[in-house]
Amino acid sequence: MAIVKVLGMETEYGIVIRGAAEPNPIAASSTLINAYVAELSRNVGWDFEDESPGRDARGFAREGSAPPEVETHLVNAVLTNGARYYVDHAHPEYSTPECSNAYEAILYDRAGELVLARSVAAAARLLPPGQSVVVLKNNSDGKGNSYGSHENYLMDRSVPFARIVQHVMPHFVTRQIYTGAGKVGSEAASTGGQDVRFQISQRADFFEEEVGLETTLKRPIVNTRDEPHCDSQKYRRLHVIVGDANLAEVAGFLKVGTTSLVLSMIEDDWFARASREYTLQSPVAALRRVSYDLDLSLPLELADGRTMTAIDIQWEHLDLARKYAEERGLDSVGGADVGRDILQRWEQVLAGLESDPMSLAGQLDWVAKLRVIEGYRERHQLSWQDHRLAAMDLQYHDVDPARSLQARLGMERLLDPDSVERSVSEPPETTRAYFRGKCLQRWSSAIAAANWDSLVFDLGSDPLRRVPMMEPLRGTKAHVEELLTSVSSPAELLERLGS
């Protein structure tokens, strides 16, 4: 039986300081996050007992956040919605809390966009006159540098990794036809002589291997990082690095929804029932071929010598998924309602892509971006090399609503804005993130460290007390709400937990 696909997304945002003589992205990222955390600490409703200022000399965010167990000397905040907000190398990175289905995952991903937008506004008040921060939710600077938007899925440890690789690879190569965020030009060392003016994916240019551990060079389509942040005997975490960051909610929903479903099918060995194998002859080459093929018409070579288009591979995956849903149910992807929406949306986009991709300008990032860039290019008679088109490509992803091009396109929303607003501070109710978030809301000053799989309390006199959270589906609202409301102090909580 497939296990519940607990999932989360990590997004590295692009950042640049305008007006600075020597922009320092690490300092800019720290300023951004510190500004956000300091602003939170001034808000009513936070239970701060100490009076230390929001920023400590070492650069740690202190209030409203917990320092990491491993000190990185970079900002690392854990937010009350259970998310982690930190500096990763030279980028601000937001990791959603653990979510239990595709809607929840995009809800917390969207909440992250609000966190970044508010950070930009907060940082503006700290920067010298004439300087401002620009933050983009994209994956490439257009000059050969890429940064990631990673997905994480909880999987059953007993499933052989080779089976996962075999069956997830064709999905990863072909799902970009609806998950791609679009990009002007190409950054690949070679495009095989092809003149790539616009392509479907931000990331396809940067993948060189089929399977591997790397994330920054020789990037693999299937990443082998094996760090489950929970009981590693029972679970693995599939760390997916091949995706683009999405702003379109439909595209984001499908990215994690279809992938959750495909992974459940792999756990239940459902591909053994397929009438054929979808193993690609050259997955790395196919990834780019699909990304460069705006007509979605090019055949891909399969290992058995036949060919299929990306869209036909996706149709057959949908077909298999429908049969899987009928026979095995949809509990592992969040239940019948969420599962049905995944299947329906999946079908709608494939039908739209097949008849007229431009009909999906309200649903898919790459189509929306292509439509406005192509329209602008025609209106002003620009060449594809014009800087204005490259600037539009970047500005599509700006998190500042006043600058974002995407925000102007009136794209279809799946999420209620009030829930997104609430999710900036409230944790999901269906995973251990609930316990983490609620404890941080009430007792942040008594929490010495917050990690994915533990909370460490500092009660002052005793040694530090660690509460392990090794089961992602324990510590939910159903499990701990009553306990949390019945105790009046962290000491009482720990006593009741018996830790």
Binding site: V16, R306, E316, R322, Q344, L360, Q363, V372
Partner: protein
């Protein structure tokens, strides 16, 4: 290569009540769509980075993942 069989899509399982209520753009007339895009492009002209060349040039991201 020439004798390779091209796999045809096997009449995929599109559900009976194919839900087509979404995808609003698909039903609009070409002219309506064009007018909509024109308005959008006017708006984009106003918010687009003034110094596009400088912005694109300065946007360099190193390190990550």
């Amino acid at each position: 290569m020439a004798e390779r069989e091209q796999i045809r899509k096997p009449a995929p399982a599109r559900s009976e009540e194919t839900p087509v209520e979404e995808v609003p753009a698909a039903n609009k007339k070409g002219e309506e769509l064009k007018a909509e895009l024109d308005d959008l492009l006017d708006e984009i002209d106003e918010v687009l980075e003034e110094n596009a060349e400088e912005f694109v040039r300065s946007y360099v991201q190193k390190g990550g993942e």
